[in-house]
């Protein structure tokens, strides 16, 4: 019985103290402003780029009434088609290196076709096919440079009008981060 009374008294005193704190705090609530500083962050990595290491080269073949030369989009180019080729062949797929942020994915787009010319006549280059289109993945981890080698194959069509000579042209290839 004695200890119970003591306890009640203590609680009452505590409540009174809290009530006075509440009044002061309550006044402070009216029209008050609380400022806080939030952090902001960003990570800039290197821009994506593409460099040609090796030109798309259909090699040497004999002038004729018509024919094709095909190049596969792999490192060790497989040359095919109906044209009569001359050895030793210099034919090769196009080779590029894509550089950018490690592990990043990217999309590569290339012109589907172009023409090459000796200054007098032209030959069509079609089916320009990169080994990577969507879903390219650069090596390494984000924050350091990654890279990927890409190959380009295509088909050349020669015609009766195409005299012996050296033909050249360009095609466009573009990379962008996904």
């Amino acid at each position: 019985m004695k200890s119970e009374r003591f306890s009640t008294f203590k609680r009452g005193a505590l409540h009174a103290a809290l009530a006075s704190t509440a009044v002061l705090g309550g006044l402070g609530l009216v029209g008050n402003a609380h400022a806080i500083s939030g952090d902001a962050t960003a990570t800039v990595v290197q821009a994506i780029d593409i460099t040609q290491n090796r030109a798309l080269n259909f090699g040497k073949f004999v002038a004729s009434n018509g024919g094709t030369v095909t190049l596969t989009n792999v490192a060790t180019t497989v040359v095919g088609g109906t044209s009569v080729r001359v050895s030793p062949s210099t034919a090769a797929s196009g080779q590029f290196t894509v550089t950018g942020d490690g592990a990043a994915t990217y999309t590569l787009t290339a012109d589907a076709s172009t023409t090459i010319t000796d200054g007098n006549t032209t030959m069509n280059v079609t089916a320009i096919t990169p080994s990577v289109t969507t879903g390219g993945v650069l090596s390494g981890t984000s924050g350091s440079q990654g890279s990927q080698v890409v190959y380009v194959g295509a088909t050349l069509t020669q015609g009766a009008a195409n005299a012996a000579g050296t033909y050249s042209g360009t095609y466009s290839i573009t990379v962008a981060y996904n």
Binding site: R11, G12, H15, A16, L18, A19, T21, A22, V23, G25, G26, L29, V30, G31, N32, A33, H34, A35, I36, S37, G38, D39, A40, T41, A42, T43, V44, V45, Q46, A47, I48, G100, D101, A103, A104, T105, S142, A176, Y177, N178
Partner: protein, 151 residues
């Protein structure tokens, strides 16, 4: 005894009004690449990261809006939120503070209203980051001030 009981209720409720305003998540613009063309990275208060111009978001870090929470306010207490004005906030390249990117266009998931019945509020803040032509690589940090006005 009845009076003491009433005081006790007020006291406890009032003490719990000790408000806390907490930044629970940083405003993260995530990972992106610059190019020769300037651009922006946009973090909306709600929704996915956007871009314009020559800034290219990279999926390795998608970024996120900042999160803030208020607790211990009065039940249904009116509030308004003040965000930084344009031209005030920028991020600096870690290790090279002179290299910066401006942060403008702050917006929040709510600008004014009433706290909940328990005196709480959670909201998010987004903004637009200006990325320069060939912006230098690296990690950028900064901070911004958000004010909640309780009426």
């Amino acid at each position: 005894m009845a009076v003491i009981a009433l005081l006790s209720t007020v006291a406890c409720a009032s003490v719990s009004w000790a408000q806390t305003f907490t930044a629970t998540q940083a405003l993260a613009f995530g990972t992106f690449a610059p190019s020769a063309v300037a651009g922006t990275i946009v973090i909306p208060p709600v929704g996915l990261r956007g871009k314009s111009g020559g800034a290219y978001p990279i999926a390795v870090n998608l970024g996120s809006a900042a999160s803030f929470s208020v607790s211990g306010g009065g039940a249904n207490q009116p509030y308004s939120i003040t965000l930084p004005s344009n031209g005030v906030v920028s991020l600096s390249l870690v290790g090279s503070p002179g290299t910066t990117m401006a942060v403008n266009g702050f917006s929040s998931s709510t600008s004014s209203g009433q706290l909940s019945g328990t005196g709480a509020l959670a909201f998010t803040v987004g903004a637009t980051l200006s990325v320069g032509s060939n912006q230098a690589m690296g990690n950028y940090t900064g901070n911004f001030e958000v004010t909640i006005n309780l009426q």
